[in-house]
Symmetry: C2
Subunit: 367 residues, 2 copies
Amino acid sequence: MASSPITMMKMKLNNCSPPSTAAAARFLPLLGPHQIRFRSSLALFHNPSFPRTIITRSTFSSSSIITAAMASEASVKVIDGKKVAKDVRDEINAEITRMKDSIGVVPGLAVILVGDRKDSATYVRNKKKACETAGIKSYEVCLPENSTEEEVLKYISDFNDDPMVHGILVQLPLPSHMDEEKILHAVCIEKDVDGFHPLNIGQLAMRGREPLFVPCTPKGCIELLHRYNVEIKGKKAVVIGRSNIVGMPAALLLQREDATVSIVHSRTKNPEEITRQADIIIAAVGKPNMVRGSWIKPGAVIIDVGINPVEDATNPRGYRLVGDVCYEEAIKVASAITPVPGGVGPMTIAMLLSNTLLSAKRINNFK
Amino acid sequence: MASSPITMMKMKLNNCSPPSTAAAARFLPLLGPHQIRFRSSLALFHNPSFPRTIITRSTFSSSSIITAAMASEASVKVIDGKKVAKDVRDEINAEITRMKDSIGVVPGLAVILVGDRKDSATYVRNKKKACETAGIKSYEVCLPENSTEEEVLKYISDFNDDPMVHGILVQLPLPSHMDEEKILHAVCIEKDVDGFHPLNIGQLAMRGREPLFVPCTPKGCIELLHRYNVEIKGKKAVVIGRSNIVGMPAALLLQREDATVSIVHSRTKNPEEITRQADIIIAAVGKPNMVRGSWIKPGAVIIDVGINPVEDATNPRGYRLVGDVCYEEAIKVASAITPVPGGVGPMTIAMLLSNTLLSAKRINNFK
């Protein structure tokens, strides 16, 4: 999660409105582990197993179960990333309390920020806040734009050796005079909570191997599918975009779950035709409203990773955020969709916390 | 190339005959770097660039150019892996001579064989022979079945330190009492000519990164496409099979070349329908004749990695080798296809030699 899928692309407003205007759409009920029946005729929502969770103890509230029981097919539409992220953070919080009480260890996450990019500072602030809320101790280093590579490497080396730190995150992008690859590789693999190290990616790609960490945003996408009990095995999945931080690892994750995966990218000649075959679409391309209603097979499940600011004179900030999927069109065709904002976005930080907890547990051999 | 795609599966004869019986099929002409025009109306064969080669000097003979000029569309069918592999080996041989004359270095490949599996012994013997022919010095260690892990690790460690050795290959499978992953990881990444280390695979998956080595069989598949000037960029490619040694890295390689890639596997519900959309098919599943004519889009290019022995009472050995693709049906539909044997098979060892040369050049900083 060292960089963000946000593309500062601007465009004219089209007929796709943000989620807030799609007032009729109701939130898709979460499936809790205690729920034994789920009434839904949606083709993809028939996995009888309980949703897999990233940590073992679950704090699903009974209210979500009640909601599920009342849900009708027409209302099953919006995948509530905010809610899931909160559930995940609550679960992490409970696990951290258990670990602290049991062995006295508190997970620690170190974030290194170089330069004064406003967006990077915001991300780091949000991460810090989320850490505090979850009970993770955060260590923050802010270095000036003109710092040397050696200075950054020295901090990484210190954090590598620090037993209080279980995850190290270098906020990207780094200033242009620094070798990003060299700096990221300096983070020891056991603390690479971003999961961007090629060794991690290789293990993600290989059958029979387990990565130490799964990159946060794609992990969040899959977690949303799990929490909403979307069956992945044997389904056709299309990933739009092949970035190292989202598209590519998302495709590898879907394949690990036995989906039949196709990857659509800028060189794909007929993206619409290929996407229209998908039962599950993960869009991570950074182009506002690129995926139109006509691209979507009726009943498909859509995870929209894009967070694109587009001009909007009616908004006090002068812009609003939209996804890579034309939401207003998609919601008429898909069986479920993540809104932007409030879909994948909140999951990314939740997964960072999850990876940090995982690291602390592994380093301390705490089950 | 530590293990082979051969599956010792047996089946009854079906109506698919081996390449030798498809007498009408003629060999697809190779494209040489000096050829300036290539008459072909095949949709996929219109890449105007010269074929990329794995080493810079080319020894394409003028005869292949003449063949190309004479080729008619109807005859453009069989991709001659034997011929390409010979060309590659000749090119490697020339490069080795140049390096030896220039800096006095001869590439060295160490092969470790544990146990007395007959097939493994055959592979090792073939590799040794190919090394000798190409001018690569081979070092062979044969250990008894009941050797310890420590003994194997000691040999690997010695080869890691030996400046005469530029590639180390542990023949798989290892005896069951050994930890394959541990042993393979002991090979230093700079000498992992198999390219199976997760770090290599990770770098293969990531955009903007370069693996030190590409696994031999998938590298051979792509090399065949290049040598026959098959355009990959923007084409739909389907890889059947997702093994760590062929299918998965083949999919990553095709994606690096800007194909739109779909991966079909045992959990895919409609493999025929998906495969039929492909301009390029790489079949690496180990099931004799699985891909039938009806699975193939007219004009598709097929790389058949399978080498499956099937019962054949008419054959003195009692069996014959067939691919994953029903050759006799496929050749009526495809624009080009690799035969089995004589297609991908010979390329695998050629690519091992290529990787060993690459390693020797890199270690000695020889351009």
